[in-house]
């Protein structure tokens, strides 16, 4: 799982950053709050099982 998390981080920051220089990781609630002011989409990478284990 750690491997994919790192891959995700690299991929998202690598590909998305090219399109959006403001890319940074944030809490879901913070992302929702920001999105409600400018309509920016939110990308969530799930790094845990639904029961909370990783």
């Amino acid at each position: 799982m750690k491997k994919i998390s790192i891959l995700a981080l690299l991929a998202l920051c690598g590909t998305a950053a090219a399109r959006d220089s403001n890319v940074r990781w944030m809490k879901f609630d913070e992302a929702l709050s920001r999105a409600s002011t400018n309509g920016q989409p939110i990308a969530v990478f799930v790094a845990v099982n639904p029961n909370g284990s990783s």
Partner: protein, 179 residues
């Protein structure tokens, strides 16, 4: 970007599997999810999500605005967007805001018709439009002209205001149709 690494966030995003990418629009509504396993699949998911949530050009109804309103009569789920425009930048900005990815989803519920702003025109007088741009949302099912105007947005507005305007109008319409 959100890294969901705890159960509380997992519940909030309704996660059903680890290593999933979930995408939400500006209203916090999920519009795409994909289980990912490789760098390519992550990039693919991101690209697909970007394609799905994108600016959409307005498809303007053809014909006279008054005919467009008449033709839409009987359609209880859609509103007619009477858009009074001139050739200035504020009008361009309004159209651009209406085509933005955040509000593009409302295009399916709107019949857009463009009216060239002319203060002396019949349409401007009929709807009491005194400046451009002005966006009037008309309920075509309502025969009383005054009551048919659901809401009016006049002058240049930021995207967030245009979004709030549309959300409010459709809330009103949906509540009225449930009664």
């Amino acid at each position: 970007m959100v890294r969901c690494a705890d159960k509380a966030t997992s519940d909030k995003v309704k996660s059903d599997a680890i290593s999933t990418m979930i995408f939400f629009d500006g209203d916090g509504k999920e519009y795409y999810r994909k289980v990912v396993s490789t760098l390519d699949s992550i990039d693919g998911a991101y690209q697909k999500a970007t394609e799905l949530y994108t600016r959409k050009l307005i498809s303007w109804a053809s014909g006279e605005a008054s005919d467009v309103v008449s033709q839409a009569r009987g359609d209880r789920k859609r509103l007619v967007a009477l858009t009074f425009l001139d050739d200035k930048k504020d009008s361009e900005a309004l159209v651009s805001a209406l085509e933005d990815r955040w509000v593009a989803k409302y295009q399916d519920r709107l019949v857009y018709t463009k009216v060239a702003f002319d203060r002396a025109s019949e349409m401007c007088k009929k709807y009491n439009v005194t400046s451009a741009p002005t966006l009037l949302l008309i309920n075509p099912s309502e025969e009383d002209q005054k009551k048919s105007v659901v809401d009016t947005l006049a002058a240049k507005k930021e995207l967030v205001s245009v979004h709030a305007f549309l959300v409010k109008a459709f809330d009103k319409l949906d509540k009225a149709s449930k009664k």
